[in-house]
Amino acid sequence: MNGPLSVVTIVAALVLAVWYLLRSALNRAPSRFDLLAAAVFSALVAVLVVIAVAGLFGDSRPTDTATFGGYLVTTIAFVPVGAYLARMEPTRWGSLILGIACLVVPVLVLRLQQIASVTGA
């Protein structure tokens, strides 16, 4: 969970968030490119989550497995839900939705890292 992929995910989330917030500030609706970027980013997050799930079967299972699982489900679903809402909102607010979704992902990843670092093993 603390590997370079987490760092890449957080950096990508922040870069995308800045982009979407800028688009929203300039009164731009999410473009095809924006939604595509969200889809690619969702895939990146999905890889991170799958690796974390695979890690659950290893020897360093987090003590609070239930909470960890809850955060994993939230993390993998988050950007797709945001993109779904943004697609229904072809205005500047759609861009803001994508921006907020990308801002929340780093928080989720950091929480996952916190929970993962407490292992009962």
């Binding site: 009164n27 239930a66 909470t67 809850g70 939230t74 839900v81 945001g82 809402l85 229904m88 909102e89 205005t91 500047r92 607010w93 759609g94 803001l96 939705i97 907020i100 979704a101 929340v104």
Partner: protein, 143 residues
Amino acid sequence: MPEASTRPQDAALGSGLGRVLLLVYGIFALSASARALVQITTKFSEAPLAYLLSAFAGLVYISATVGLAVGGTRGRLIALVSCSIELIGVLAVGILSIADAVDFPDDSVWSRFGSGYGYVPLVLPFIGLWWIWRHRPRLETPA
């Protein structure tokens, strides 16, 4: 761009900025109730008052989310009541958690005005109420 300000008066409560609010309220509905669930099932006796408030906050966020999503007269009323309770809640719990830190260890969404959540819980009801107020039903029929 001018078209941003010409939002039709009868546009749905859950569109435009309302859809952003829907997402943010959804996030808080999820995080507050999930947090309360974990707290109540694992360590309820440590701070029952704070954890019950966590659960209550979760319910308030859920009903606000539902109200925004449902829209119409009823949805607007649900959202209005929820946001009002939310505002009172975050202010009351915020003040109490500073004045009486024993009963309120740093453990709920509203503790210390939501500082653990970037003070978003403090700002959110104001934006929510402003948005609902902007969507108050107009009696006069537009010409």
